[in-house]
Symmetry: C2
Subunit: 406 residues, 2 copies
Amino acid sequence: MSEYHPLTESEAIELARRIEGVFPQGAELTCREIGDGNLNLVFHIRDEQSGRSLIVKQALPYAKVVGESWPLTLDRSRIESEALIQEGRLAPGLVPKVYKYDPDLALTVMEDLSDHIIMRSGLMQCRRYPLFADHISTFLANTLFFTSDLGMNQQEKKVQAGRFINPELCKITEDLIFDDPYTVSSNNNYDAAIEDEAEALRTDEKLHFEVALLREKFLTQGQALLHGDLHTGSIFVREDSTKVIDPEFAYYGPMGFDIGAVIGNLLLNYAGQLHWSADEASRTSYREYLLETVKSIWTQFDRKFRAHWNEKNVDRLAARAAGYQDDYMRRLLQDSIGYAGCKMVRRIVGLAHVADIDRIPDAAVREKAQRIALRIGKALIKGNRGAESIDFAIDAAREAAAALKG
Amino acid sequence: MSEYHPLTESEAIELARRIEGVFPQGAELTCREIGDGNLNLVFHIRDEQSGRSLIVKQALPYAKVVGESWPLTLDRSRIESEALIQEGRLAPGLVPKVYKYDPDLALTVMEDLSDHIIMRSGLMQCRRYPLFADHISTFLANTLFFTSDLGMNQQEKKVQAGRFINPELCKITEDLIFDDPYTVSSNNNYDAAIEDEAEALRTDEKLHFEVALLREKFLTQGQALLHGDLHTGSIFVREDSTKVIDPEFAYYGPMGFDIGAVIGNLLLNYAGQLHWSADEASRTSYREYLLETVKSIWTQFDRKFRAHWNEKNVDRLAARAAGYQDDYMRRLLQDSIGYAGCKMVRRIVGLAHVADIDRIPDAAVREKAQRIALRIGKALIKGNRGAESIDFAIDAAREAAAALKG
């Protein structure tokens, strides 16, 4: 079973059985393939009697998105597994435990999180996660600081960056986030009702300029080991638990890209929530919850990252250059806001959408949500380099909602 | 002869004889080791009769600088050889031809340039090189543009960046250029007469802030394949020819670091020339020649780089984002000015100095040259982010000379 082939369910069971310390001897294991079949096989393997379970995730040698299919490296399985192990070391309890990685089969055996739900679904149900801002800000502060030149040996960092060179998956981001939405592309995908918005994205010179700057940083700025795809569909939650999954886009890039992914996806839900939940009072309250969460994530991240800097900095010059930390955090905030905007725009006009908005059943309401999301996204992109506080993003969200709610 | 050991002269001759197309059959080859013995063995191998010759350059497994010795990877020989081959492809005629690279012996067999002289020596003799600005601006524009995301396939660039991860040699730069000169360090080395200057470098908060920003870019910004050590001792010249040598510090970094190295070293010579050459009239004229050369290098680089961008850009968004090229070139100018300043400061108070200033025989004159160089260097570092034209550097040089010439 050493050469690559997609596993059968019985092979997955045999492989799971050999993981030590999970299943009792002779357990009767059941297997269910629960992946969406676009990128990976995901086997859920369970022993009914003990209630124990685990996940076998195997990379497929192609990607399927909206009917298209293209070949994709199996090496992403190694990158995912190595990133999970690093993240688990730096942010204990905030990612699934990795039991085994098999490079030949391009698979990872990991902790089963089926007692959690995907955060995007939780947000769509207006659920609240009181610990989420604390958890995700710890995940971000720890993984970003301690894989950067500020928090790890600077020569080892270079070698590590070499192990996370990830050209194929970076190309997906470069095309789908930083290029297609701003031009005519067969990768784009949007409702005819917002053709005017799509056209405006293609002709807005100020927007193109800012996206070019953000794209340049994504291409060149190896600040830290990023998750690389940290939207609310890559986060499993319970009220008391947060688990970040699927770091197959991991590479050395600008820290703000991960922070912005979280913020942008909360704001996409915000744009959808304007017309989505049960009654106006609970809607208003949930929108406030989302904005408070955005603010709290940044505020806690800022505090935790600075604490690491003050206590664990390894860069002698950074440690003693007056004003440098403040400048660094300001640039990080601005990058995060800019990338949050890019993430929002691509989810409305680009290839891959989000359920928060796509599943709004009423077409007119959905269109309004799309316009609100685009208005926020464009404001964040255009204003990122002038932003001095996370309130800039909060205000942009309120402004767009007020202007278009109608 | 396949396992690593330092070559003897007779082994070097045998190796040279096996290179095809250089020496006639049965030639009587002579060999002279001409390296400085600090980092490499350099064998000059020649056939008196035909006049043909070549160089065998072998890396030693240690570095010796000012009496200290530390182990150093032999992999720098691979990096040097691969960088030379790339540079030769992108800037034909501006680097020595590579005949052979032997990874086991960590050696490169290359074109002999002994009809050229080291540019630093030429400058110290007040010689002029009318084609130098044209040549070096072509070298910079071609090697930097076509190894960047603007000029090469962006996925291949990432793979290539992985082949040029160069932790040990980057560490030398990070320590000696971006750290030691601004603190108390046993690596520093300066005349007691300028203790006040050294002290000022250690306590100047504005300077530390700017150096921290430049250091951060050196650590994180993988814009293009740099030469990495492009001072005037890494350039061979004749009146009609320019050859860039010794790219063992090559890695993916900020373009301005290479441009700044050339400019900073010309300005170091300028600081030394104030008191160095024969008579006041020729001194004045040579100083003007140096400043004109600095200006011409940037102006020609700017024109050639923009021409590549307009004709050969592979980044679709960069190609259509209005104002992006101007902004990019402005940032490149500012980086170049900042790095030029860092290069100047470290050559006065840091570990490794330059002959342009160290060899000034009169101590008082030498001290004045050191103070001028530091004044220019600090002005370039502190002012880099406000600079809008190369005249900023020219003016800073003139100002320092006028203020301290006395």
